[in-house]
Subunit: 285 residues, 2 copies
């Protein structure tokens, strides 16, 4: 099987590494706009060749688009156009790995080749980026969402499922709308609050040089996501802004509950907030 | 050396384990109000005996108070009173391990034995509690604050420094006021935002049972501190509420910057916020 990876960064690179290692792909083609990343992906053996989008669409059986969502919405219809012009295009499969799903699906909604596209979101990652951050095993045991799977051809879904099975992911099917609400809660909000935490303490550092001397594991854990880059996160936050803003407003209301309890010295209210928050123990180890 | 540990939980227990293992203490006495924890501390060999506060003050060369700050402010003057009534009380050292420093210092400010007290904050921990959570090596390489050290006797400071040296901590000296501002930024704020995150997603779970299906490592990292218990954190947040509320307001203003940028679709503003937040890479690996 020849697999084309459009965007050979953290996500695309990690997919490529395990598809080769686990015998799913015998040839991997990379499409990479950034020359340094392209050279690194070749040097690391993540892909066998770096090609242009047309060559990738023509030669690959499966094309996985793993670029920021703002770029993906442009590339996905172009790749389906290329499929349409190829004799075997109707047997090829196009997948994405974007963190928001409504926009990518909207981008190909009325395309005659829509059935060949599987909107997927393999939910794993780190706060690093680029091919050198790519890792074997990064997806093992994690969830992969298939969004609006009823709009994909059955055989395309089966092929996509086999690919994610090789990555040891469990596939969860849901609507694009539900996906985007869920991720606003369990992923996008975490990033925004981590960015805001980093900004708050960095701001203080301007007049208090040693503010970080006392930072310990708790701070690092909460601020870790603030290392995530703008290239990936600006498009995600913008694409999902309506859901995200709603969730942020709920979150801010809880912060205000804390503020009110602190202002009035209300020990009972604070205890109730913390006891309730502790129920998260059920979810995270 | 005989060391008394008042509160044989995560912090007191971890101190005891390494003071014994590293040859600083040859006898460890525990004072523990919770019977289950007292039995566990004995069974685990964290302390050699569980005694009452008077026995601890009489027999120990150093008494380390590692209980929630609301209890510590009551016990510290009582222990200094006991020191005052003992023939060798003027050679004993009292230390605390509380996460806020102004209130504990205020509690003993005018005590005739004030010089025997070293206000210290060994900055390490986990989100777990109790003697079974105690760990060897938990303090290694971390910072320990001595607050207002000028108010402690020189020999008491030296003994406290030797103790923390055995725990492989680097001692940082600062005023209690500075300590409380610093910890509001790098510790207490992280806890509040983590609690609020947990509350937000748990609230959604009421009508969306599968909201956590997609939670990944990023969420766990940001919400980890929300497992921290109310017994410890209610007193900390209340003691430091003025500093904390100020920091929370700065933090909320950054959240509002994100909200505004999202509302207006201002890509440039979002990018600038995230780029600035990324400077945290300098601080955390």
């Amino acid at each position: 099987m020849t697999v084309g990876i459009v965007g050979t960064g953290l996500i695309g690179g990690s997919i490529a590494i395990d598809l080769r290692r686990r015998g799913f792909a015998d040839r991997l083609l990379g499409v990479e706009a950034d020359k340094v990343n392209a050279a690194a992906a070749l040097e690391l053996g993540i892909v066998d060749a770096v090609v242009n989008l047309e060559e990738c669409a023509a030669q690959a059986d499966i094309v996985v688009v793993a670029v920021p969502v703002g770029t993906a919405v442009k590339l996905l219809p172009q790749i389906l156009d290329m499929f349409a012009s190829l004799p075997d295009g109707g047997r090829k499969v196009l997948m994405d790995a974007c963190s928001t799903k409504s926009a990518v699906i909207e981008a190909v909604r009325n395309h005659p080749m829509r059935g060949r596209f599987v909107a997927s979101h393999p939910m794993a990652g780190t706060e690093y980026s680029g091919p050198r951050a790519a890792l074997s095993g990064m997806f093992d045991g994690r969830a992969c969402v298939f969004a609006d799977p009823q709009d994909s051809d059955t055989d395309a879904l089966e092929i996509a499922e086999k690919l994610y099975d090789k990555l040891c992911m469990r596939v969860v099917r849901m609507s694009a709308a539900d996906h985007d609400v869920h991720t606003a809660y369990v992923s996008h909000l975490s990033h925004v609050i981590s960015f805001a935490l980093a900004l708050t303490v960095l701001e203080k550092e301007k007049d208090e040089k040693h503010i970080f001397d006392l930072a310990s594991g708790g701070f690092s854990s909460t601020a870790r996501l603030a290392k995530s880059g703008a290239d990936m996160w600006v498009p995600i936050l913008l694409q999902n802004r309506d859901n995200l803003r709603r969730v942020m407003h709920t979150y801010s209301a809880f912060l205000e509950d804390f503020d009110k309890a602190l202002e009035t010295g209300d020990e009972k209210a604070l205890r109730s907030l913390i006891d309730n928050a502790n129920r998260i123990k059920r979810i995270i180890r």
